[in-house]
Amino acid sequence: MKYLYTWGAILVVVLSSTAGDILISHAMKRIGDLGELRRRKGILHVTGRVLTSYNFLLGLACMACSFFSLLFALSWADVSLVGPASASLTFIANAFAARIFLRERVDVRRWTAALLVAAGVTLLAV
C-alpha cells in the first residue's frame, strides 16, 4: 500500500509539475518578451498582464498541486527516493509535453541534454 501511495504521489508530482510548466510557458509566450514590455509599458502593466492570464493562474495552481503531492510523497518515503525520482522524471516528461503541446523543436541535442541532466540529478541524491 505504501508503495502504491509513494509512486502514485510521485506520478502526480511529475504530471502536475509538467502541466504547470507547460501552462506557464504558454502564458508567457502569449504575453511576449517581458523585458521589452516592461521597458515600453512599465512594471505594473507587466505584473497585471501576468496575474490576469488564465493560463498562468492555472499553471500556478498545478504547481501548488505538485508541491502538496510532494509533501504527501515525502510523508510516505525517503527524500533520497522522492527527490531525484520526481525531478528526473519531470525533466523527461517536460521534454515530451513541450514537444506535443507547445510544439517546441526538441532535437537530438535537447533530448540528450534532458537525459544527461536527469541522470545527473538522480546521482546527486545517492
Partner: protein, 141 residues
Amino acid sequence: MTLRKYLVLLGVVVFSALGNVLLSRGMKQVGEISFHNFHQLFSALLNVWVVGGIILLVLFFVTYLTALSWADLTYVLPATAIGYVLMALLGRFFLHEQVSTLRWLGVLLITAGVGFVAGGPSLTIHEPAKVPLPEPQEVEP
C-alpha cells in the same frame, strides 16, 4: 541571445541556488518539523535565513517567467540546470555538507547536459502555413 538574456538566465541559476541554500540553512536552525510541532513552520517565517531564501526564490520565479517569455521550456530547463551544480558547490563549501564522489559525478553529467543545450537554438519559430501561389496563367496574345 543578447547579453541581457544571458544575464536573465544567470539570474535564474543564481537565485534558485542561493535561495534554496539560504532556505536550507534557515530550516536547519528552526529544526525538524513534525506533525506534533507543525506550528513551528509558521515561526520559521521569522528566521532571517528563511526570509532571505524566500526573497531570492521570488526573484528566481520572476527571472524564470521572463526567460520563458522568449525561450523554449526545453531550452530554459536544461540551460538553468547548472543551478543544481551551484547548489552542490554551495552545499559543500557554505553549508559544509558531505558530497560523495557519485554526487560529483552527477554534477559532471548535469554540466555536460547544460553545455549540450546551451550551444543550440533557444526558440522554436512556428512558421505560418505556406499558401501555394496560384499557377501563372498563359495570356493569349
